[in-house]
Symmetry: C2
Subunit: 450 residues, 2 copies
Amino acid sequence: MLKPVAGLKKSAPPKSKPKSTRASPPAAAKAAPAPVPDEPAHRVSPLAPKSFAKLPPLSGVRLAAGEAGIKYQGRTDVLLAVMAPGTQVGGVFTTSKTASAPVEWCKSALSQKSARMLVVNSGNANAFTGKAGVEVVRQTADSAAALAGCKPQEVFVASTGVIGEPLPVQRITKLLPEIYENTGAGAWNDAARAIMTTDTFPKMATASAQIDGARVTINGIAKGSGMIAPDMATMLSFVFTDAKIPSDILQQLVSQGVQDSFNATTVDSDTSTSDTLLVFATGKGALHDPVLRANEKRLDDFRTKLFALLKDLAVQVVRDGEGAQHLVRINVNGAESQASAKKIALAIANSPLVKTAIAGGDANWGRIVMAVGKSGEAANRDKLSIRIGNHKVATNGVRDPNYSEAFLAKYMQRQEVDIDVDVGVGKFSSGVWTCDLTHGYIAINGDYRS
Amino acid sequence: MLKPVAGLKKSAPPKSKPKSTRASPPAAAKAAPAPVPDEPAHRVSPLAPKSFAKLPPLSGVRLAAGEAGIKYQGRTDVLLAVMAPGTQVGGVFTTSKTASAPVEWCKSALSQKSARMLVVNSGNANAFTGKAGVEVVRQTADSAAALAGCKPQEVFVASTGVIGEPLPVQRITKLLPEIYENTGAGAWNDAARAIMTTDTFPKMATASAQIDGARVTINGIAKGSGMIAPDMATMLSFVFTDAKIPSDILQQLVSQGVQDSFNATTVDSDTSTSDTLLVFATGKGALHDPVLRANEKRLDDFRTKLFALLKDLAVQVVRDGEGAQHLVRINVNGAESQASAKKIALAIANSPLVKTAIAGGDANWGRIVMAVGKSGEAANRDKLSIRIGNHKVATNGVRDPNYSEAFLAKYMQRQEVDIDVDVGVGKFSSGVWTCDLTHGYIAINGDYRS
């Protein structure tokens, strides 16, 4: 669970080079000048948004990125976010039984309910690194806490990259003081870029909402590109708001909001050891009355905007799915429960045969039937209906009389494909997003690590 | 469940052209002479056995293949097997909720416990074809039954190929009388070829066993190549013995034997609508005393040989996995139950990231850790150990001190790769077979149907 899907406010793509702090970079990085630090390693996904959101300053949050050279050279790989005293936090994490040391740290820190700092590194996931990995997180938190004068438990840590390799923590701790000095309110683009691994574009979204007539802001960044690349893993997302929301309520909101966003998306069905979504509320924006319950009507606008922003970020991750050529929305109706509808939708979304058919521009609906059957969920084969786009391909368990191969062949040339399935047993629905399975995925993931 | 894995008796590859009956072929097929009927559509899998089993005649079974031209031209696509009166039968089928009409027919026919005929066609799965599809099976069974003078319920029917397209049953029923006339005891190679879809080699195995000192024979054929190809689906396997085994006992044996064979293999995690395994016992071989229980000691040799033959056929299917370049055996130890061990092994076997790493010759064990975590089954991250070949890559939750990238890089060049994982929580084990995920899989399944 907690897997990657897009669509809110957008503006022109950020042209400015990220502001990067390069403090005592490791040997290899020292010599040559940074070779276009904002150029991704792979060709930009054809599904990338045509423009990027421009995130405004957000009261109570300062950020900066730096180059620790942990794995990547000539680009930023450490993000530091500093939040105002009193910042509240909620989060959800990977369900993996082999979760990374930073995930375990964050889960524990969450019980403190308050956050002052976020430290993220890319290039090494600090996963499957035993006691040494736990020590790396502790040292990172200690070093950061000393800068802000907060408790280590108020420092949230996330790592993404290779699994199973020791993380040289000194590269981070040595760099933190300088990054800390450089933090500012405008470095959102830098932040989104510093956490990228095999991502081909930075993922950002912003929204504004009203609580009691007071205008508050929500900014979010994310990274992820499938579960991954040569051996990177992970979806990470960090969302910040200047609204004043107590951590218990924030936690309820994020747990609910993730269901139709990050948990309704899949690239390759693989679950990272490090998936992390954290939502921070500084309470330093426009004044509003205290928020008492997650479901109160006063929060309606904020909740709607937050959930839409989470979905926006999640779909951006799918748009950057490794090798993706098509963005696919799968909607299942007529299921006996919402959970059943989602399970069927994910069975279709994760089927290699469905995904390769879409890659080939083939509306091979027989494979959708197969995937419904494979899910193990209740479905009435003789009432099953399938639409691709607005075209009925199957009705009541057989090919639709008006089925048109020519229409479908044309429709499948689109970058965005909609599949609607009615399984004919109930009235529940669920929708998920995925991408196709292409030669690009094999090339990215089948290359030898080097 | 009931998904495809190899290893018994082998002899020289069959050179002879299949004996094919061509009765009133459809228009398209009529004109041109058959263009090399035994040449598969795709290049032969590099994992194909170096030699093929030569199946001996088996008392009480006669077979022949014919060309109905349902989808393929210039090759056989219908198999007819005629069994002696009194033949007993047991079977297992796909767990798909959208099973094909032939699967539903066979499940029902199985309750009769006796079998006289088997009719199989390739090229059209007769799945998701509604009432018309049911009628196709009924007509096929009626036509065949009339030839042998048996009940339609003693005719077993299987179809493999495109899903959702009407099957022109007349092409089969018109051809059956001529195929029936041509049946013989030696046409095993023809039989194995007639049921192929995107298979690149025919799958056959034979064994002999002793019951009470009497020597009996077991012959089996199978088809399958992933779940599929452009839009073929399905694993089919038919096993015949001249031993005298009552259907209840045969059913127990096949249900047990499938667990570590066809149900311990996966190519792409997709479950066909048509998977079918049938075992027929003619009772016409060397005389032995009546068999009373599946677990009696007198059956030990027969049971062992039957199970080994099922595994042989299942691994042959994996060796022909679409685009496969590596055959992979995954063994999970230290699990809290056998079911848990199998679930973890299948999570590793089905992980696109593990499969692409193997395709790229990359011993990327971090992805194995990921897949263990993703399975949701009990595992102790800090006791987890992984071996690839005989080389320890991870011990007690961290990279092994003697880890050698160079050794592994060499090992991964092999065609057959062994992965052993100990999850450190119990004493149960399970093993599965799979293949890698390559550009070949994308090419085969991403091509447009035409």
